[in-house]
């Protein structure tokens, strides 16, 4: 639908479609969904809401009736729900969409089962261990589901594991302070996932839609925060971090300008560079300076110049990539 809209609007704006014919043109273009498309949408929406509601219902049912239910009954309910979900997923008559919903529900139920296990036996495990075990046990189902959303959920679990692990244990060998270590961990994980997904998209025909962009954001935000942290703590001093940040920007540009043209990624790099440079200017001119009004005006002009320059450049790239 979005592409039909993108095609239709220029035709209206250029006057190709006469103004008095616009209403008919909208109807003829198929911009509005057909009754069949509506039925399909509602069918899938109800399927997803039903599947997820059932998975969460198991969790809330046990939590609400905790005192009345014995240990075995609690485990039986969760395991029976999980077996049912997996059974539906492997049933040969189930459509691919039903299989995906069933496997997503089963993946959620693994988490419920692990939480139940930790609560019943009071294992004393750290929270990151729960999420790590959850991710590990869910991996086969995520693998066979071949479903973008489930992969992203699984990677979200791993992000949580990394964050919780470094909050508990800090960095390896005490070299890194804990929050920096967590950011490095998130950067490493998401960059690895991004590279793997790009490889899959090139060699195995994996989908190249929103998930890749989400992973790129997951890689870029920690890297930007690490650089900003360096600037706040130490100012403009030589550090390997600066080299790594510059290298990251260069690789981002090289890959998404020449190898896999994607303007979103380059725009993300521009936002990161703009933020870091503004912070650096503020550090040099304001914190290390005298908070003069001239410094504020200088930073305003610099931000305007960088922003306008980035927009002009991105628009030019957009024209080149679109040709």
């Amino acid at each position: 639908m979005a592409s039909t809209r993108r095609e239709l609007i220029p035709l209206i704006e250029q006057g190709v479609i006469p103004p008095e014919q616009v209403t008919r043109a909208v109807q003829a273009s198929g911009l509005h969904p057909s009754p069949r498309a509506w039925a399909l949408f509602i069918d899938r929406l109800l399927l997803w809401l039903g599947g997820l509601a059932l998975a969460f219902a198991v969790l809330f049912f046990i939590a609400y009736n905790w005192a009345e239910m014995g240990r075995w009954l609690r485990f039986d309910v969760v395991q029976a729900a999980m077996v049912l979900a997996v059974g539906i997923a492997v049933w040969h008559k189930a459509s691919p969409m039903v299989q995906r919903v069933a496997l997503t529900s089963a993946t959620l139920l693994v988490g419920v089962l692990l939480a139940l296990f930790g609560q019943v036996y009071q294992t004393g495990a750290d929270p990151w261990q729960l999420f790590f075990t959850w991710a590990l046990l869910a991996l086969p189902w995520v693998w066979v589901a071949r479903f973008e959303l489930l992969w992203v959920l699984w990677l979200g679990l791993l992000n949580l594991v990394v964050g919780l692990y470094f909050r508990t244990w800090g960095g390896p060998f005490g070299v890194l302070v804990s929050s920096d270590a967590a950011l490095w961990g998130l950067f490493g994980l998401n960059t690895l996932a991004l590279a793997t997904w790009e490889w899959g998209a090139r060699c195995r025909n994996w989908s190249r839609q929103w998930a890749l962009r989400l992973l790129a954001v997951g890689s870029g935000v920690p890297m930007t925060l690490l650089t900003m942290r360096l600037i706040v703590d130490a100012g403009l001093v030589w550090s390997p971090m600066l080299a790594i940040y510059s290298l990251w920007l260069a690789v981002l540009y090289g890959v998404y300008r020449y190898w896999r043209p994607d303007l979103f990624m380059i725009a993300g790099g521009c936002v990161s560079a703009l933020t870091v440079t503004t912070l650096l200017l503020a550090r040099l001119l304001l914190w290390e300076g005298d908070w003069q009004e001239g410094s504020l005006l200088l930073i305003t002009i610099a931000v305007l110049a960088m922003g306008a320059g980035a927009v002009v450049w991105l628009k030019r790239l957009h024209r080149e990539i679109s040709q």
Partner: protein, 262 residues
């Protein structure tokens, strides 16, 4: 892309719609994330510009009337720049000047009325006027977003916050249903629509996270009609659905009926 446009032209011709020769060359639409970058850097520059004004011309910030006057002048200047702008640099500058002007006006209104109903209704009126007048898509989107938040806060002061979501949803439905009504203003309608949509998402996020800013107002505000807010919200949502269902080509009647009942 060209093939797709040709397919669409063929479909339109088959439907008996006469097609003219293009009167202007096709413009490549700017992607949303480039506009988001423009808005982000404009907002950042506006903050530093405001800091410059606060430090350089202190009396302006100390006097609400001077803040209001300078804010209005800056918005006027931004309007002039937008009208004259032939490139991204001037448009960028205009955006930053306008945002700084709006912040100055908001500052003056806070000085006049503190955090009261008048403040939020005035900001709502200002943002609505800017969304209508400013000849920039990024500005229209931002103003529509800010207007929806001002409406939420204005209603929250009167303990009517739950009604805001429904009202914005109704406005959103009316906008998108009339997207093609004025062929010359399609881009404007889309800009307002995106701004209101972001505002609605923020409102829903606030409602679900439990941070409704109620702590600001609960101590001093009472409203005999507060009980009606959820019901008003339901009425607005039903009206939105009714408007959507009244266009058979958009939502077929049986499906619209089912959604309305739900």
């Amino acid at each position: 892309m060209t093939n797709n446009v040709n397919d669409l032209s063929v479909r339109l011709s088959q439907a008996g719609i006469p097609l003219n020769e293009p009167t202007s060359p096709a413009q490549l639409q700017t992607p949303w994330f480039v506009r988001a970058l423009q808005a982000f850097s404009g907002w950042l520059a506006a903050l530093f510009l405001l800091g410059f004004i606060a430090m350089g011309v202190v009396f302006v910030v100390e006097s609400p009337a001077a803040s209001l006057g300078l804010g209005l002048v800056m918005i006027g200047a931004a309007y002039g720049l937008f009208c004259k702008a032939r490139g991204d640099v001037l448009e960028h500058l205009a955006l930053a000047v306008s945002l700084a002007g709006q912040l100055l006006i908001a500052w003056a209104l806070v000085e006049f009325w503190n955090v009261s109903t008048y403040l939020w209704w005035s900001l709502l009126a200002l943002q609505c006027a800017l969304a209508l007048v400013m000849p920039s898509q990024v500005h229209r989107t931002f103003s529509a977003f800010a207007a929806s938040l001002a409406l939420y806060m204005a209603l929250a002061v009167n303990t009517m916050a739950p009604a805001a979501g429904g009202l914005v949803l109704l406005a959103l439905a009316l906008l998108w249903l009339n997207e093609f009504r004025c062929p010359g203003r399609i881009q404007d309608v889309q800009a307002w629509g995106y701004g209101l949509l972001i505002g609605l998402l923020v409102m829903q996020g606030l409602a679900h996270s439990g941070h409704s800013f109620a702590f600001w107002f609960d101590a001093q505000s009472t409203n005999a009609f507060a009980w009606s807010a959820p019901w008003l919200n339901a009425v607005f949502v039903a009206l939105s659905l009714w408007r959507c269902c009244s266009i058979p080509s958009l939502i077929p009647k049986p499906i619209g009926g089912c959604i309305s009942v739900l």
